[in-house]
C-alpha cells in the first residue's frame, strides 16, 4: 500500500454520525437508562462525554470525577468546566481512601516526600536512573516490566487507580441501570 497524503485524515462530521449512532444503538439494545462516564479533565474523556450527551441527551448522562492524592487540581477544574458546558450533573468522589485501604500508596516510598513537588522529584530521580541504563526507552521497559521490581511496583501503583475508578463507575452503573462509556483510544 502506498503512503496517503494524510493517513490520519478523518471527516469529523462522518465520525460524529458514526459514533452517535453507535452509542444510541447500544444504549437501546442493552436496555439502559443512563450513561455513566468518568471524566479525568483530559481530552479523551471530555470528548466521550460530549459525544454521549449529543447522542442521548444531557438528562441521560451521569458524570463522575474521581480524584486521589496525586491528582492535579487543574484537571478537576477542567472536568467541572466541561460538565458545566454540557449542562450535566457531575459527582466528585475521592478514591484516596480506597487506594489507601488497598495499600496502593505503599507500593512506592512516596509517603516520605511531603507535597506533590517533592514526590515528582523523587519519581524523576528514579526514572532517570532507569533511563541511564536503557537509552531513554522508559515506556517499553515499563510495559515489559523488565526494569526490576521498582518498575513493576510503579505499574501496579498506576494501573490500580484506573481499576478502582472502574469499580466505582460500574457500581454506579449497577445502581442506576447505567451503561459505562469508556474513553480509551487506539494509540493507547
Amino acid at each position: 500500500m502506498d503512503w496517503p497524503v494524510d493517513p490520519l485524515h478523518i471527516d469529523p462530521e462522518n465520525s460524529l454520525i458514526e459514533i452517535t449512532n453507535f452509542l444510541q444503538d447500544h444504549f437501546q439494545r442493552l436496555n439502559r437508562r443512563w450513561a455513566v462516564i468518568g471524566l479525568s479533565g483530559g481530552l479523551d474523556s471530555s470528548l466521550a462525554a460530549t459525544l454521549t450527551v449529543k447522542s442521548l441527551g444531557t438528562d441521560k448522562v451521569k458524570l463522575y470525577y474521581l480524584p486521589e492524592r496525586d491528582s492535579k487540581p487543574i484537571h478537576r477544574k477542567h472536568a467541572v468546566l466541561l460538565a458545566d458546558k454540557l449542562n450535566t450533573e457531575i459527582k466528585i468522589i475521592s478514591i484516596s481512601s480506597a487506594l489507601r485501604a488497598l495499600r496502593i500508596y505503599s507500593l512506592l516510598p512516596l509517603n516520605y516526600f511531603p507535597g506533590r513537588w517533592l514526590k515528582s522529584c523523587a519519581v524523576d530521580f528514579g526514572r532517570s536512573r532507569f533511563l541511564e541504563q536503557s537509552k531513554g526507552e522508559f515506556l517499553s521497559i515499563r510495559l515489559a516490566g523488565s526494569g526490576g521490581s521498582w518498575v513493576s511496583r510503579g505499574n501496579a501503583y498506576a494501573s490500580a487507580k484506573h481499576r478502582v475508578r472502574s469499580v466505582i463507575l460500574y457500581r454506579e452503573a449497577e445502581r442506576f441501570q447505567g451503561m459505562v462509556v469508556g474513553a480509551a483510544n487506539k494509540t493507547e
Binding site: P12, L43, D70, K72, L139, S140, T187
Partner: protein, 96 residues
C-alpha cells in the same frame, strides 16, 4: 468504547470540530497517575509521528518505507511497544 477505533491525533481533530474548551484541547496528555509523569506524548517522542507509524504498521506499509519516512529506531521502538502492550488490549483469555 466509542473512541477505540480512533488514534489520539484523530480525537484532537474531532475535539476541535466539536468546539471543546481550548484549555482542555491544548494541554498535554497528562495521565495524572504518578507525580512527575505529566505527558503521555513525551514518552512516545511525538504523538503525531507515533500515530502515523502505528497506522503504517496496521496497514501493512512496507517496513523500509516506514523507516525512511520516520527513522528505523523509532519504528522499532513503536513495534516493541505494540508487542509489550498486547497484554492490556486482549480480552480475557479463555478456551471459548
Amino acid at each position: 468504547m466509542p473512541l477505540l477505533h480512533l488514534y489520539r491525533t484523530q480525537l484532537e481533530i474531532l475535539a476541535e470540530h466539536l468546539n471543546l474548551p481550548e484549555e482542555i484541547r491544548t494541554k498535554k496528555a497528562d495521565p495524572d497517575i504518578l507525580p512527575g509523569l505529566s505527558d503521555k506524548g513525551d514518552l512516545l517522542g511525538s504523538l503525531k509521528d507515533s500515530d502515523q507509524i502505528l497506522w503504517g504498521l496496521e496497514n501493512q506499509i512496507n517496513l523500509s518505507d516506514l523507516e525512511n519516512r520516520f527513522n528505523a529506531e523509532k519504528v522499532s521502538y513503536i513495534q516493541t511497544l505494540v508487542i509489550n502492550s498486547a497484554y492490556y488490549r486482549d480480552t480475557p483469555y479463555s478456551l471459548l
